[in-house]
């Protein structure tokens, strides 16, 4: 998984994205704008983090952080 390293810590990209979705549901386009990350990277990382239960996806395809990831984020 590209969102956590071999020690189980969040990667820099993952932290940026999780911070961007820590308050409200955001679209990949908004996240890319906020973080300065390329849109393709935001989309692939969100897919990765969704499969790990780090983010939840709305019907409108916007994303918000899950508690599990919030805990990891607070530790990093």
């Amino acid at each position: 998984m590209a969102c956590i390293d071999d020690k189980g810590n969040l990667t820099t990209t993952a932290k940026k994205i999780l911070n961007a979705v820590s308050e409200d549901f955001r679209s990949p386009e908004e996240i890319a704008k906020d973080t300065g990350l390329p849109l393709f990277k935001v989309r692939s990382s969100l897919r990765d983090m969704k499969s790990m239960g780090f983010v939840t996806e709305s019907e409108e395809q916007t994303y918000k952080i899950e508690e599990r990831a919030r805990t990891l984020l607070s530790k990093s």
């Binding site: 998984m1 590209a2 390329p38 849109l39 393709f40 990277k41 990382s45 897919r47």
Partner: protein, 226 residues
């Protein structure tokens, strides 16, 4: 049985030799890359240059990678991403980009597909069996923001690609889309563009009398675009 095997081998060869045509939807894929798992659909809304190289740690490819990185900032300004591919492992790619950074001082920022099973290379016809059955040739696919193949360039293994031409090609395609025009030979941004030729005698007559275009003849007229 042997007939069946022959047919299967023929089918496989056809798949290897097939390439997406200009104007066709770009074949979708999901692939392991140096930036994690990426799908083609992740690039929707951006233009993409999907390019293959024969192998990591080879001299021509190394110069090309440094050159691709050099044009990457300019491409990003044009809403265009880069995605490399070769039939090497992700570990080989990682080692190679680290070597490029160490030896050439160039940090490769775009992802590279590790296409060990040749799945993407086969979909895009990047393997030319007459050249090599195990390595991709130097293919470039320009895919637009709607995921349509807009241009295809093929170079043999011995010739490194020209980055200025790749940038110029994107500029030409995007200018054509924006203004509904075509671009002449050796066109560069700022040069006059070609107005589509008129389709009727009446339109041809009007065209040659149009003060807003510069005509050599009714079918070859140019104008400035901003």
């Amino acid at each position: 049985m042997s007939e069946f095997v022959n047919q299967e081998a023929k089918k496989q060869e056809e798949v290897v030799n097939t390439l997406p045509r200009i104007g066709s939807p770009a074949p979708q894929f999901e692939a392991e890359t140096t930036h994690g798992t990426i799908r083609l659909e992740d690039y929707k809304g951006s233009w993409l240059i999907l390019f293959s190289h024969p192998a990591d740690f080879t001299p021509v490819c190394t110069t090309e990678f440094a050159a691709f990185q050099e044009i990457y900032p300019k491409l990003k300004e044009m809403n265009t991403e880069l995605l490399g591919l070769s039939i090497d492992s992700v570990y080989s790619h990682i080692a190679w980009v680290r070597t490029i950074e160490e030896k050439l001082g160039v940090k490769i920022e775009f992802p590279i597909i590790a296409d060990l099973n040749k799945e993407v290379a086969s979909k895009y016809g990047m393997i030319m069996p007459e050249e090599s059955k195990t390595e991709a040739v130097r293919a470039v696919f320009v895919i637009d923001d709607k995921q349509v193949v807009r241009a295809v360039i093929y170079y043999p293994m011995s010739a490194g690609r020209n980055m200025e031409e790749i940038v110029r090609l994107i500029q030409s395609l995007q200018t054509s889309d924006q203004h509904g025009i075509a671009t002449p030979a050796n066109w560069k941004p700022g040069d006059k563009v070609i107005v589509p030729p008129p389709g009727t005698q009446e339109a041809a007559e009007e065209r040659v009398n149009d003060d807003n275009v510069e005509c050599i003849d009714w079918f070859l007229c140019k104008k400035e675009v901003k």
